[in-house]
């Protein structure tokens, strides 16, 4: 809801808007020349032109002990994706930064092999020659036949956009961890199976050998052993040793803390357990290896119909045998699960990083608005990823009360990985530090600086930040250090709220050394993420605006007392105003710089004077403590401040600005975005996080709604009906047409609760009163049959509860609307052309309405008398005055806000789990008939 319309250039709507909107081309002389440096199909927005692949993809590689690093598969599995990109070469690169294989396997000095349950390592790696940047996730899988029983693998998310990798590191890391966990679980299972088979083999071999030895003993009673016999005895001894070793391995693999799996997303273990339990009976087979300890879970045991083989003393040369495929290494089930997860990752992260960030920000903000977000948002979509909260520590804010602890945790690095593995990983890499003054570096990347990056840079120990570079080709900018996480969080927590930007810049900066060779490992953890200062240099404006860049955790401020206007005075106000004319995102925020619109600073950061958005939105960080309770504004009010004081301030400020047409602003933006999208090179349609259907639906609904407001001059009263809770019936013969209209109008329907939208697309039977309680928008079939007459009779009977849109005769019967909100919401002369743009426009205005309704609902004195003796009328007067003067609502707009407020009340009062009686509110107001 909050995402700014069209700030983001990204998608291409595939089943785009019809020819209707395809205008004739401009005459040659008026057309703007194309980006001069662009070749055919080049994209001026492309950040790195040199990349050889067209879109982001995921690569799985293995460091094969036979042939070295080799690519195994890519997701999406399409040759076109990687294009001319050299997968083999890149595999070599990414595998060469794996630190782990060296300390698993046989540690020197131990009697028999020891399995290390190593954590995965996560690194970011850049290859400027290839124009590729990658998040690389290394993991090891166990293979009995492999050297040291381990096979190193890695999964890499490869993108041409470095910033995407950097800024989405945590998300990527969380998602890839899931995939890796799944793979490893399957692998442990398969490994255990393999071990058991091997044990059976060994056991069998031992029996055979033993028998042979006995036979030989009996055969010669000469009293001395033949060389043959000695050989056999040695062989037997080695087999026995091997049995012990393998038993130990099996024990180790089974002792892997099973509870770990409980966190992971892949729960379908139960059926498997059941299956195993069923097999248990046959498992008791005495011939089976003695390794199965009593009481041990039989999770890893498998089909016992295995016939043991004799193991030759000398196994084949390791280069002769064929190594197991990844699919064999992990159980097939887990393998497919992993692939699904990887596909999901690919879908989630494709597209421009701006888009991802905007989504994340708006989603996080929406989650905070726990009181109002149900009205126009799909709440299920907000809640859809509860597991993520575990990984991200604190991203799931907004629904929980705040406690000190949570806040502390939120500041700490979020990727939870055991200390040990990091220490060792750091030790393994030869590190060389280089420090320089920041401005010595030429601006290499034309991209932004994120606020928290700066902050991190400023407050990190200088020896942690900075480039860490190996002498030769690999350049590691930063690795995750175990100790640093904690200390950093503490130091951050005690930061002053608004540090001076000067302090930050005058500090000793550090930069990367760009070595001749092309691999740069940028960072392994963005919680101390190190974007070199040289990026800043190219962005003077960004630095100038630093005061806005909120330094307390991520640039989002709600607290009314900390508005930029207060802190920085006149200067900022003028800036705000200039910005207001420029950017639609700011226009929305302008009415309430600190109060209704939670994102003013963000908006400012995003805007440039020429109206082109150059800086992508910043990743969302949890806001400060007081903001998460769900009642940011209310707190201020109940604390003794009169609502008027707060409101009048922003209202006076907003008077003039509100004149600047919102549509114009967002339209200019929409042009930009459409231009961008048509020439956007990579990844059409960034399907929204696991929710592409919803995305498409929005787009289509927005498109239909646009068409509706253009076609029907009486769109305003119709939309007013929906917003004020009066059921709108769309009557028509043609099902498709009716459904289309219903879809179009559905974006204006407020939800009554957490359930599905109160929209019924198609009904053929006569309506009843109960239906109006349930549904606020109904598509109704008109037939000429007697049954159809009944339908119409019902309509006419209940006409006082209904607005009726006749799709066939193009008439509308509904109450009069004279307000202003809907006029802004649905201007038939709007220049918005794209469905998704219009959808966002609608969402932004609805958000405004929501916040007004929120204020109205939660202002104590508007509903209850201040003193006990105060008469009811004065409360009513106060209420009306508030609506009219403070909220600036006119005529019927009041009804809209009142209805929304009523929904908010009901929602808040309602006990969780208990679904209250749906009630129908209505007014006795006359209806009018509108015709085209």
């Amino acid at each position: 809801m909050i995402s700014a319309p069209d700030v983001v250039a990204f998608t291409r709507e595939e089943e785009l808007e019809d020819d209707l909107y395809r205008e004739p081309p401009l005459p040659e002389e008026y057309s703007v020349p194309l980006f001069p440096f662009a070749g055919n199909g080049a994209n001026p927005w492309a950040k790195v032109a040199g990349s050889k692949f067209t879109r982001d993809f995921i690569l799985i590689s293995e460091f094969s002990e036979q042939v070295g690093p080799q690519p195994l598969l890519t997701i999406p599995d399409d040759a076109k994706v990687s294009g001319t990109f050299d997968l083999n070469y890149f595999s070599l690169r990414i595998m060469s930064v794996d630190y782990q294989a060296s300390f698993v396997g046989h540690p020197p000095g131990s009697a028999y092999p020891k399995l290390n349950f190593v954590e995965d390592s996560k690194v970011v790696l850049g290859d400027s020659k290839e124009g590729a940047f990658a998040y690389v996730h290394h993991l090891t899988l166990y293979d009995l036949e492999a050297r040291g029983f381990v096979r190193p693998f890695c999964m890499a998310y490869i993108s041409a956009d470095e910033h995407k990798i950097m800024q989405q590191f945590q998300e990527l890391s969380a998602e890839f961890s899931k995939a890796s966990e799944c793979l490893k679980t399957g692998n442990r299972k398969a490994f255990a199976n393999e071990l058991e088979k091997k044990l059976k083999d060994l056991d069998y071999t031992r029996t055979v050998l033993h028998n042979e030895t006995e036979l030989q003993k009996k055969a010669n009673d000469k009293g001395y052993y033949t060389t043959q016999a000695i050989e056999k005895a040695n062989e037997l001894a080695s087999v026995e040793k091997s049995i012990i070793e393998h038993q130990d391995l099996l024990k180790q693999i089974r002792s892997y803390p099973y509870r770990k799996l409980k966190d992971s997303e892949f729960h379908p273990y139960e059926p498997e357990c059941a299956l195993d339990r069923a097999d248990m009976g046959s498992d008791q087979d005495p011939t089976a290896s003695d390794s199965a300890e009593p009481g041990e879970t039989h999770l890893y045991t498998h089909v016992p119909s295995y016939t043991p083989k004799l193991i030759k003393a000398k196994s084949a040369k390791c280069f002769d045998k064929k190594l197991k495929t990844l699919e064999e290494l992990c159980d097939v089930y887990f393998f497919t699960q992993t692939l699904d997860q990887l596909h999901h990752i690919e879908r989630t992260f494709r597209g421009d990083v701006c888009y991802l960030l905007t989504e994340q920000i708006s989603r996080a903000l929406l989650k905070q608005q726990s009181v109002t977000n149900f009205l126009f948002e799909d709440v299920s979509f907000l809640d859809e990823k509860p597991p993520e909260k575990q990984y991200r520590g604190c991203q799931g804010l907004g629904q929980d009360a705040i406690d000190e602890k949570c806040l502390e945790e939120s500041l700490a690095p979020k990727v939870v990985i055991s200390l040990g593995s990091y220490k060792s990983s750091v030790e393994c890499v030869p590190i060389k530090m280089e420090q320089e003054m920041e401005d010595s570096e030429e601006p290499k990347m034309s991209e932004s600086v994120t606020s928290e990056h700066q902050e991190n840079l400023d407050y990190l120990d200088t020896d942690i930040k900075g480039s860490i570079s190996s002498g030769e080709s690999i350049e590691v900018l930063g690795t995750e250090k175990s100790g640093s996480g904690l200390t950093k969080s503490e130091s951050q927590a005690s930061l002053p709220v608004i540090p001076s930007p000067q302090a930050g810049r005058s500090k000793v900066g550090s930069r990367r050394t760009v070595s001749e060779d092309s691999i740069e490992v940028l960072s392994t953890c963005p919680s101390e993420s190190l974007i070199p200062e040289d990026f800043k240099a190219s962005y003077p404006s960004a630095i100038n605006e630093e005061p806005y860049v909120d330094d307390d955790e991520g640039g989002l401020r709600f607290n009314p007392r900390m508005t930029p206007g207060v802190d920085d005075g006149q200067d900022d106000i003028s800036k705000q105003e200039s910005l207001v004319q420029v950017d639609a995102a700011c226009c929305i925020g302008k009415e309430s710089p600190n109060f209704l619109e939670p994102l003013p600073e963000l908006g400012q950061k995003v805007c440039e004077e020429d109206g082109v958005v150059r800086i992508p939105p910043q990743p969302y960080r949890p806001a400060e403590q007081g903001l998460r309770g769900g009642f940011p504004s209310h707190d201020g009010l109940s604390g003794g401040l009169l609502p008027y004081e707060l409101d009048s301030r922003y209202l006076t400020g907003s008077r003039e600005v509100s004149k600047s047409s919102l549509d114009e602003c967002s339209d200019s933006m929409s042009y930009i975005s459409s231009a961008a999208s048509t020439c956007s090179d990579r990844t059409p349609s960034p399907a929204h996080l696991a929710c592409s259907g919803g995305e498409r639906h929005r787009k289509r609904a927005g498109q239909n709604a646009l068409r509706f407001i253009r076609q029907y001059p009486f769109a305003h009263p119709a939309i007013y009906s929906l917003l004020s809770g009066r059921t709108l019936v769309v009557l028509g013969e043609d099902e498709a047409m009716v459904k289309k209209l219903v879809t179009a109008l559905s974006i204006f329907v407020p939800n009554c609760g957490l359930y599905a939208k109160p929209v019924k697309h198609w009904v053929t039977s006569p309506l009843h009163l109960v239906d109006f309680q349930k549904w606020k928008l109904i598509g109704l079939q008109r037939t000429v049959s007697p049954a159809g007459v009944n339908v119409l009779h019902a309509l006419s009977r209940y006409s006082r509860y209904l607005s009726i849109l006749d799709a066939d005769s193009k008439t509308l019967r509904c109450p009069l609307y004279k307000g202003t909100v809907v006029t802004r919401l649905a201007d038939h002369r709007t220049q918005i052309k794209r469905g998704s743009t219009y959808y966002m426009h609608v969402q932004s205005i609805l958000t405004q309405l929501c916040s007004k309704a929120f204020l109205f609902t939660f202002c104590h004195h508007l509903h209850l008398p201040i003193s006990e003796r105060e008469p009811e009328e004065s409360v009513v007067n106060r209420r009306i005055n508030f609506l009219k003067l403070q909220l600036g609502l006119a005529n019927e707009d009041i009804k809209i806000v009142q209805y929304l407020a009523e929904l908010l009340k009901l929602h808040y009062i309602q006990e969780p789990g208990q679904r209250g009686n749906p009630l129908l509110r209505f007014d006795y107001v006359p209806s009018f008939l509108y015709k085209i």
């Binding site: 403590q625 009642f631 201020g636 006419s796 006082r800 019967r813 209850l864 209505f922 006795y924």
Partner: protein
């Protein structure tokens, strides 16, 4: 509107146009009911609503189930199963037991020839009697004597413990259709065309001494008595199927006054042949009577008549108040009258004094200045027709409630809490004052906020 929907081609011979039923537009400023709750539960016609206490009521109907509802929230409190046939009568009975604690009970009679007493708090079936020879059609509680009467083909007197104290002999097969309590331990029972007065000789010592005696039979009605209501200690009123209304003295059971032709249109010099032709007994039947100290309000056919006891004549009427028979009417304290009808609507009327004829009625509220032009005009016309009787009052329609899709059988007025209506469409609708509900919700909201501790300033 319907015409507009159908498309103008087919003009429906709408009842509304021909039969001059007063209509009110969509703008109803005086109608307070702007919120409704639909209570679902019954599976057949809901016929009876009974108030138990300030915020509870019971409903019963043809499905034999009794539901208890919270009148404020619409919450279903209890569901009482026990009858196998439809419920024919229901009465509340608050008794004080040994511990002097008030216990709310309800008595229900059903077509399965049983009567059950229920505890309204626990939903427990306290006692069940199934020794009836015929269906009990009416129940009356004599709170003073702490007994209750059941009327079927005979009249039985029961005490609270469901002991049969005494009973009459078999009266008729048709049975008693209505019972009303009179002073001096008497009851009037409507049996067909006759009105029978019984006297109870109560004994406070033991149950053996109770007796019930027929004292008088009144045979003044030409047709079956359909309604029977007590006005005050001195008067009671009966109405019959052919539209006779008789006012009786409650002490000596003599006829004080009678009105038998107020349905007759010729009296009012209103020539409407089509109505006359279609005049069936049902059109003139006195469906329901209610009264306050001054007037008796009668639902006769489709109309509502106000009969003044002092003046002994009809002072105001609305001859076609509804599209079909009026089933139930009730007088509200604020000179308002509510009626419900088979046409599925509930209407709110206001009894107003008429000023000088040529002048428009003086509006009582500010809003009437511009709000009710049309309605007033029609009321005037209706009033003009009755000039012969020179009524100085008229009934003005101030609002209608449309929600049920079938006949509204009965309603229950809960004062501030609203109005509960029950209907043949199996539903009960709670009509509420939207403004009041909204402020109540705000109150709850802030209470909850305080509870959750969200009212504290959080920095």
């Amino acid at each position: 509107m319907l015409r507009w929907l159908i498309g103008g081609g087919r003009e429906p011979q709408g009842l509304a146009e021909k039969s001059s039923v007063q209509t009110i537009g969509e703008e109803q400023i005086q109608n307070p009911y702007t919120e409704l709750l639909v209570l679902k539960g019954h599976q057949d016609i809901v016929r009876f609503l009974v108030q138990i206490d300030d915020c509870r009521f019971a409903s019963a109907g043809d499905d034999g189930i009794i539901f208890l509802w919270n009148a404020q929230t619409g919450e279903k409190l209890l569901e009482l199963h026990g009858h196998t046939h439809k419920i024919t009568a229901m009465a509340p009975f608050s008794s004080s037991d040994v511990t002097e604690e008030k216990v709310d009970l309800i008595i229900t009679a059903s077509a399965d020839r049983t009567v059950i007493i229920w505890d309204c708090t626990s939903g427990r079936q306290i006692q069940k009697v199934s020794c009836f020879h015929s269906t009990v059609k009416c129940l009356t509680v004599l709170q003073r004597l702490n007994v209750w009467l059941s009327g079927g083909s005979d009249l039985c007197v029961w005490n609270q413990k469901l002991d049969l104290l005494c009973k009459t002999s078999h009266l008729t097969d048709a049975g008693i259709s209505a019972l009303v309590e009179l002073p001096k331990n008497c009851v009037a029972a409507a049996v067909g065309k006759e009105l029978i007065i019984f006297r109870l000789s109560a004994s406070y010592n033991g149950s053996e001494d109770w007796n019930v005696l027929e004292v008088k039979r009144l045979v003044d009605h030409q047709d079956n008595i359909s309604s029977l209501v007590s006005v005050n200690d001195l008067t009671f009123v009966t109405g019959s199927h052919v539209g006779e209304l008789i006012v009786w003295d409650a002490l000596d059971w003599t006829k004080q006054a009678s009105e038998c032709n107020f349905w007759d249109s010729s009296v009012h010099r209103d020539v409407q042949p089509e109505i006359k032709l279609s005049q069936t007994p049902n059109e003139t039947s006195v469906q329901h009577l209610t009264s306050d100290e001054e007037c008796v309000f009668a639902a006769v056919g489709k109309g509502i008549y106000v009969y003044n006891l002092q003046m002994k004549r009809v002072i105001a009427c609305q001859r076609t108040a509804h599209d079909s028979s009026v089933l139930h009417i009730e007088k509200l304290p604020n000179r308002q009258l509510i009626s419900c009808s088979e046409d599925g609507s509930v209407r709110i009327w206001e009894l107003r004094e008429k000023q000088q004829l040529p002048a428009e009625p003086v509006p009582t509220g500010f809003f009437n200045m511009w709000g009710f032009g049309r309605a007033n005009k029609q009321a005037n016309q209706a009033a003009k027709k009755m000039q012969e009787n020179t009524p100085t009052y008229f009934l003005e329609l101030v609002g209608d409630l449309i929600g049920h899709s079938s006949a509204v059988q009965m309603f229950l007025y809960f004062g501030e809490l609203g109005l509960a209506t029950c209907s043949a469409d199996h539903l009960i609708i709670l009509w509420k004052d939207g403004e009041r509900e909204s402020s109540l919700r705000s109150l709850t909201l802030f209470k909850k906020l305080a509870q959750n501790g969200d009212l504290q300033l959080r920095l």
